[in-house]
């Protein structure tokens, strides 16, 4: 079979693209789903917080958190079945436990910080929770590629900008730009598969 240098170059480029796409897809499949779900929770939750009375908003956030966590768990399990990795199966369970414990402790530290700094208004409380979540996300770069966690940096900058510059529409800002940004970024990752 005769192959021209041009054809060889095209084949090598196709191989390179496919290998990159596979690695990228495997590394980011969980991140993409988690970003879209978190984005929807933030979008609905914060927009409601901006416009609805706080007595109703509490229940909306509880409902959204339970629904978001359940959906993320189900989709996470389904995605985990797509690539079976006997080489890391033994360590994966231990790593998952350590990640779970880390987030549990982070929640404890977040509650402790709010308790120490009390009294504070809703915006301050929200800002502290966002900062703790983003710190946790960035700490995940110890286990995941940095390309999977860098989005926490622009979200933090957006949150700080909204908090200090636009306090009147802070929740709306976080819902539309924070939540919407996560959804768009999640869809962008998905489209690049």
């Amino acid at each position: 079979m005769d192959i021209s240098p041009n054809e060889a170059e095209e084949s090598l480029a196709a191989i390179q693209r496919m290998m990159q796409r596979t690695r990228h897809s495997i590394a980011n499949s969980g991140i993409c789903i988690s970003l879209i779900i978190t984005g929807i929770v933030w979008l609905v939750g914060y927009v409601c917080t901006q416009f609805l009375p706080s007595e109703i908003v509490v229940y909306i956030w509880i409902g959204l958190s339970v629904l978001g966590s359940a959906l993320a768990t189900v989709l996470g399990i389904r995605m985990g079945k797509r690539v079976r990795s006997p080489s890391i199966a033994a360590t994966a369970a231990a790593t998952a436990k350590r990640i779970g414990l880390f987030w549990l402790l982070l929640v404890f530290y977040c509650i402790a910080t709010i308790a120490v700094a009390w009294p504070m208004d809703g915006k301050q409380r929200t800002m502290i929770i966002i900062l703790f979540i983003m710190i946790g996300q960035l700490a995940m770069s110890l286990l995941l590629p940095f390309s999977s966690v860098w989005w926490a940096l622009p979200i933090t900058v957006l949150a700080l900008a909204g908090y200090f510059l636009l306090p009147g529409i802070f929740y709306l800002w976080m819902g539309v730009l924070g939540g919407g940004g996560m959804i768009v970024f999640g869809l962008y990752i998905r489209s690049r598969w």
Binding site: M1, I3, A8, I15, M18, M19, V83, R84, S87
Partner: protein, 97 residues
Amino acid sequence: MAEFNETIHQPVRLRIMAALVALEPSDEVDFTYLRDLLGVTDGNLGAHLYKLEGAGYIAINKTFIERKPRTYVAATAEGRKAFQEHVAALESILKGE
């Protein structure tokens, strides 16, 4: 000299092998995931996998997970070697050797 492989060179099979070789040697990928990744139909992917399996380049593992049938695909050691040789052959052509 590296060996050009006509079985692997077919465009869909080339992409299948590239995707499987990108995984860790002991990893295997779900059929539907591979189908979506490649953007091909079930029948098309099945036919090419059959050809690669016949050549000994991939292993197909049919199993049940939560009572549902699932098919996993992985590159064999022989498949990885043939793929690397094919890539080397393409590089040689490109260099005009």
